[in-house]
Symmetry: C2
Subunit: 145 residues, 2 copies
Amino acid sequence: MPKKRASPKWRSGCPLNASVEVLGDRWSLLIIRDMMLRGFRTYKEFLESYERIASNILADRLQNLMAHGIITSERDPSDGRKLIYSLTAKGIDLAPVLTEMVLWAAGHEDTGNQELVRQMRKDKKQFLAAVRQRWAGEQIRLKSK
Amino acid sequence: MPKKRASPKWRSGCPLNASVEVLGDRWSLLIIRDMMLRGFRTYKEFLESYERIASNILADRLQNLMAHGIITSERDPSDGRKLIYSLTAKGIDLAPVLTEMVLWAAGHEDTGNQELVRQMRKDKKQFLAAVRQRWAGEQIRLKSK
DNA sequence: CAATCTTACTTGTGAAATGCAAGTGAAATT
DNA sequence: AATTTCACTTGCATTTCACAAGTAAGATTG
């Protein structure tokens, strides 16, 4: 179900172009990966992720993802400093995109994380269902502290 | 089947990161779309594609895609000025990635090209088979001129 | 409850990527 | 022989990115 355009105008009406304009940079999809696969939900967690995004870029990408309705944020009720970021339905729907990108690279590049790849290859549908399941509750997991 | 790494080192071993490092810019996937879906095969065709890539960026992206084994090039036997670009098997294997990106955007953004989207939604497998079929011959189609 | 620490950012600055216009050389066409 | 086409380069201005440092609000500590 198409919605109003997030940005005033696309370079073109091609849906692939729209995806590229929203997600075609070196960080956005990694942030989504961290949320989807690793359960990261705070700025600090993203900052400390392996690829070492710069803090200003992270702030910018989070704003962008929110502006496009892919994630939302809310205060952590148990710690007023924290913002908890969540995937929206639109964000969760990126799971198939991430899956295919992972499988492509795993098949053609020298990469690691074979466990994830095995799981994705074994049963793509089930993997996607698991991601949806994980985010279905939408309750904020508090750190066990 | 993992191969030797194209670039000396990735930011991380995550396959998603590898994909993002190779394809995570605003043009590479559009070039692949033009080849895969529209049958474009020359520099001039890419240059004149709707989104208007700059000539120096196009040259750079084609080099990059070749360096990563996603496309190859050869002289047009019937016109020594032209280079004919072709997708490799690795490039063709990006079809599922493109498909999911198209379906995601078509479902969540206000985009056009509904015919393509309908076709992809109707039968994803068949659509992928058609792309493979189209590129299976690997013969150079000469312009009917 | 004041000092310190955490968290989520900003700000400043240099480096790199991008975009635009114009040019170049080899091959084809007229 | 002159012109056109093709696949790029080159030069330069603009934008984005990256790194380091700083800041303000809220939480924790002694």
